[in-house]
Amino acid sequence: MEVLTAHGPKQVGFSPYQDNGGTALAVSGKDFVVIASDTRISTGYSIHTRDGNKITQLTEKCVIASSGMQADIKTLFKVLQMRMKAFEQQHRRHMPTPAIAQMLGNTLYYKRFFPYYTFNILAGLNEEGEGCVYSYDAVGSFQRVPVSCTGSGHELIQPVLDNQIDRAHQKGLGHWDLSELEAVELVKDAFSSACERDIYTGDHVDIAVINKTGIHWDKFDLKFD
């Protein structure tokens, strides 16, 4: 944008977007899901807080985690919760996970021409009790996947998931049906590795395990550097 100054016209830039960094990851099993995100909020080389919140519970069976711009993440979570309350009023029941998945896609596409700078992962149990993970881009295209990661550490973590869960390039072995404990250990290892080499990932990890007994939250420490 051009402004007129005493010395003549000059260009100034204002971007409505910021990248606050961070990584989110979700792994699904037959009857559970594990979803996690780190808690560091940063801009450039500075950290705003080590105790940020990029993951939130939507229903007793569904959790969303995001990376990208913190302002848009917070607003998106509020908008989602608002629309879910409306659903509960209209339908007299909690929103099932696949319905939340579709609604999130629609909510993002409403702002197709001024998007929410958020990269979301939705994880939960569907009505049959199976673990589901849905992965989104910024404007609402989504797909149900077995495993997903997003954010500044996703390039580091994605091949680890391909190798350890799909067991790609491991002869004779197919997809690994992990147990809950194994999934949590893998998620912790993935974050530890990402934290080593990605400056935007670190501090703590919020982990949620969703199974038929409910949602269990855990906090795991990472390096502060």
Binding site: P159, Q164, A168, H169, E196
Partner: protein
Amino acid sequence: MGDNIMAYNGGSVIAMAGKNCVAIASDLRYGIQNHTVGFDFPKVQRVNEHTFVGLPGLLTDTQTFHEKLNYRMKMYSLRENREMKPQVVAHMCESLLYERRFGPYFVEPVIAGLENGTTPYLCAMDLIGATLKTQDFVLAGTSSQAMFGLAETLWKPDLDADHLFEVISQVMLNAVDRDALAGWGCRVWVMTPEKVTVRDLKARQD
């Protein structure tokens, strides 16, 4: 050449240290932006009995730099009548790169060797010769982020030659599978005090 000259040809190299052994791996793709032209272009050369030099980056500079380095190493061995140690090879690369400080070679060397035939030596450099010495692994190329994630997860200290081969192979294969500009086969060299083995990995040809 596009906005990222280091991604014009694509390609990746990683080297790892184990117990009295080193391994180095390179993909085999030769491409020009999104067009793959060859499938047998390793970016690693064994420059003397105890040292490998990998040069991912702009492949014309890879070739030229290998030739310059070979020339200097041959002159050294003629004058000194002895082999260049891995650390000295690294210092020579540093110096050759800094000579071109304001018009650099677009390569990021990865050097692996055995000092005195037994002690692992690893070194990585940026395109103007800033060195980084480490005991675990060094890597460079278009798949660097993917290789970092896998290497941090899978590497551990004091692996023997066979386990080191497995680890470096898994890192290379899974990393280049997530990179459109690297892949089309991988070659792994493993150097122990007794011998050097070279193996081609069965990889996705895309």
